[in-house]
Symmetry: C2
Subunit: 187 residues, 2 copies
């Protein structure tokens, strides 16, 4: 935090004579401008990381939704005969819509440059629902695979894995949002 | 945030002539001392609320642990014949030790007046484990109760409820810690 003598070298190259405030900014690095621009850059990186994680969560939720919804093979091999799989499908649909809305809002805010509202609480609630539904479906699938190992149990296992991946992405995104909260006002 | 004319009335009563800095503090209310003391009081309340919630989480974890560990009634009515119940027991033991350590550290920090370190991430991880284990054990118990309704299924349902209560307490505590993070540096 004390190495404030590193001035950004790109600034000299890309704008040598565009405005008159550039030399003032150069001499101002000793007064703490460089740490602030470094913080801005880190915040921007965190925002993009959070967006990427929510995009991943959307992708995994959508995959869990599609795989589980198409998991009907007749007889006992229908997902809607088991409450665990119905629960997983319901939460996957909810998470798909939630993360899609989040990503759209993120992109809109990144493009317009407005302040991003924190939605850590709702992301944590959806993450709790995802981990609950994914872990509920695990024992049933385990018991089925002891007896028979076919396309139905494989699809169920794939949907459960996608649910866990969506949970991990969303939980990490909520963590990053918390980190943003803790550092955004130290400037 | 603008009603800074409310001076704390207790200060006049409890320390009328103990030190010489009291009148200076009284005249300083117009310069923003009252919002700061109010913020301190709110932070103190949040700390106590977080402590109470972690105490509740400890209590519920301990209850889930005891109820599930004593849930052995012979024949098929042993908790350790089912992986869901073993998972719930393991997470209840982990959560009991974790919340006990948290409460002890909280009390120590409240009494010594030191800065409380944030442990939101670990609390969230334990909360994820609690909700995962509690919801995993639900479908098995439901299926058993369709066939037979005895002391084994009742004890299992009680332990699952305690697990959910412990999850709710710990998740709320993690939320309060996040709120502390977001306001602690606006002074």
């Amino acid at each position: 935090m004390s190495n404030s003598e590193h001035t950004p070298p790109k600034k000299d190259l890309e704008s040598p004579a565009t405005d008159n405030t550039a030399p003032a900014a150069e001499t101002g690095t000793g007064l703490g401008v460089a740490p602030i621009t470094r913080r801005w850059r880190r915040e921007d990186m965190l925002k993009r990381g959070s967006l990427a994680l929510r995009g991943l969560a959307f992708l995994f939720s959508l995959l869990a939704f599609i795989i589980m919804a198409s998991n009907k093979h007749g007889d006992w091999k229908d997902f809607d005969k088991y409450e665990e799989y119905r629960y997983l499908l319901a939460i996957a649909i909810l998470s798909t819509f939630y993360t899609a809305g989040q990503v759209l809002r993120h992109v809109q805010e990144l493009s317009t440059g407005k302040q991003m509202l924190e939605k850590r609480t709702s992301a944590m609630i959806v993450a709790y629902l995802l981990v609950s539904s994914a872990s509920t479906a695990v024992p049933l699938t385990n018991r089925m695979r002891e007896g028979a190992d076919n396309i139905f149990t494989d699809s169920s296992a794939a949907a459960i894995s996608m649910g866990f991946f969506a949970f991990i992405s969303l939980a990490l995104s909520a963590l990053i949002s918390g980190y943003k909260l803790s550092t955004q006002s130290y400037i």
